[in-house]
Symmetry: C2
Subunit: 189 residues, 2 copies
């Protein structure tokens, strides 16, 4: 099962995912090609099709990995402000990956179990950190969505160039203020 010598790669699926994630994390998927990926792995581009139905399926798998990493990062948060900060930091740290995770109409989302599972994990963490424990379900869901929508919207508008560019720290600080999670003149976490 370890990386083997000649004909068979050993674990192409995992290696391809790792490599693809690395290629996409910063630069996004627009300039990403199956052939470039295959070249880096020292393999014919067609070999990838033994593990992923098509380019879209590979991207869905990459997105799943992204959501899993995101959930890990968020799990450490203990309150809304740190949650939001961690979320924004992830999205701004791996812009290409975040785009693949959120800017595709993943019909895939229900067709790819790992993706569905990873997204559900993020939602579970969000509920635990962001929602009032004893509120009814609709309220809890809306509490989560309010923060998530604000964070996701802020990130999107920033990336699209609609906002003044700031340092990451200032950006996070501003989002926290807009979300009402930081009292007017206080310092953000």
């Amino acid at each position: 099962m370890t990386a083997r010598a000649d004909y068979h790669h050993g674990d192409l699926a995992a290696a391809a995912l790792d490599e693809a994630l690395g290629l996409i994390a910063a630069d996004g998927e627009a300039r990403f090609s199956l052939r470039a990926l295959a070249d880096r792995l020292g393999v014919a581009h067609r070999a990838l099709y033994n593990h992923f139905a098509d380019r879209e399926a590979l991207l869905a798998a990459v997105a799943a990995r992204g959501f899993a990493q995101l959930a890990d990062g968020l799990a450490a948060a203990s309150e809304p402000a740190t949650f939001l900060a961690a979320y924004v930091r992830f999205a701004r740290g791996y812009p290409g990956l975040y785009a693949v995770m959120t800017e595709r109409h993943h019909a895939q989302i229900n067709a790819t179990p790992s993706l569905r599972a990873a997204v559900d994990r993020v939602i579970a963490v969000a509920l635990a950190v962001l929602a009032t424990p004893d509120a009814d379900e609709d309220t809890r869901r809306r509490e989560v969505m309010r923060v998530w929508m604000l964070a996701h919207g802020a990130i999107g508008l920033q990336r699209a160039g609609m906002l003044r560019l700031r340092s990451d720290a200032d950006f996070i600080d501003e989002v926290l203020r807009i979300a009402g999670l930081v009292p007017p003149q206080e310092k953000a976490p």
Copy 2:
């Protein structure tokens, strides 16, 4: 200047923009090609390059048209709730166009004057409708951004499949509630 007979088209730039907007509005830019566009206009695909530097520039022009239309649509709003509803309706009505407007790193945004101008018009309308008239500038900006981020985030999460699918009306209603623009049990505009 009207559509001419033989060799010269007459006003290829405008015709191309119209046609591109039509092709992209619903389906987005992923499956959009310069060649398909040129075919529809009865012209060699290379002719388009006389009017647009490259594919990206054409998309920037399409985005500019989109923002102009959006600003028109928002101008009729008189209060935050109707503004937000109009915004969401636009984004959900022309998903492909909205994606081109917001999901590209328009370095273009400052390189394309018409795009910059159209975005500024949207921001101006938003300030007029969403901000407290006599508040200081930072507050006004944040009031606008809170609504814009919520709307944009909601649209993005919905499109990505992170939310339960609902009818457009229900979706708008839910966003208004989350934004705190509709009292708990009241009917949305």
